[in-house]
Amino acid sequence: MFEKFPRLFLFYENSLNSSATSSRTPSQSTTTITDSSLQSSDTQGSYDGIFEDHPGLNPSSERIVELQSDIREKLEELLINKSPDAAMVAAEALHGESDNIPFMEFILNDLNTNGVESESYKDALAALVKMVPSPLEQFEIIPFFPMKIGDLYFSFTNPSLFMLLTLSLVLLLLYFVTKKGGGNSVPNAWQSLVELIYDFVLNLVNEQISGLSGNVKQKFFPCILVTFTFSLFRNPQGMIPYSFTVTSHFLITLGLSFSIFIGITIVGFQRNGLPFLSFLLPAGVPLPLAPFLVLLELIPHCFRALSSGIRLFANMMAGHSSVKILSGSAWTMLCMNDLFYFIGDLGPLFIVLALTGPELGVAISQAHVSTISICIYLNDAINLHQSDSFL
């Protein structure tokens, strides 16, 4: 659809010129028309020298338009993972406002022969980076050691690196705390931190899961403790500048919540046998209503698997993006070399600082919330319909 446009318009322009010729001097009318239409559509960039050009009278202009659209098409081909407008922006940046035919032919040639290796392609990429600063860039997954096992993409990427980092951090902490056969009876700061976390999750499990003796309940404790500790350490680590937030990826949070959901279903069947399926029907419901109620209960039950993943993902992504956007605006204002902006910069800077606090709070409270919801789901699966939980 796009490649049709330039020619169509040229055509239109020519006919416009010819109609203008009958009434007035052609060159004058063309300039005024393009003038006004340019002002209405010129969004960004400078169209220097555009007023000197008279397309209707210029025999080479069709060739220029053709070349420009060829460059854009070629870039669209090369920039597969980018959108068409990104390719257009890149093409615009490459040929600029030049009407130099050999120059554009050179670019096109370069793109055609050298493809991704060409200088022009690199220039286009650089222009894209400069022109489309996205706050979602920080979530990009970069493979460090590309690996493939069969058809399986098995690379060591930055999420893997940061997950390993978290894991080793927590394990080191636990190792040093329990080094001499279980630590000291009077704990130091690190040991009390670990004890605090342990105690917190222990209380959570004891409170939320009811109807079982302490020993049986504690079977689930290690799994819940690991889940809690992982997100507790993982989420705030994403707040460190230039680090990577693993839990801001839907794939990872969804993998976590789905595996927990499947595990809880297995536990439910193990504890209750086939009567576990009675969770689909509240007690004391008249039989004719049963088909509807089973459906109604099944949907929220399955949605639990999605909801805890989405909640964590959305919180991490939205929070990090907003911090990034605000700090970007603060940095831009600081770099404007203008006293007014320099003073005004304190505003965004303060908002960034103020936002970092709640962001850390969200990171920690999300770990808490997801752990509580896991406990509640587990409780529902173990004690059918006798839960007194408030969620």
Partner: protein, 87 residues
Amino acid sequence: MKKRSVSRIPPLFMLESAKLIGAGAATIASAGAAVGIGNVFSSLIHSVARNPSLAKQSFGYAILGFALTEAIALFAPMMAFLILFVF
């Protein structure tokens, strides 16, 4: 060549404006979250005023309710960011 700029920008221009409108509309959802968070804390104050001895326990529940509501609140900016920067 001026033709190009005249003829090609409008569709993208419309798309860009539609994106901005969509992102703006997505943030309307924050109103609901504001009501929810206000509700959580007003209920906390009510219940503590009626039974101060349960203050500590209700505060824990209130923080949990706040975190859950706030999680939903963050869906709104998330949608806005997705509309603006992904598509």
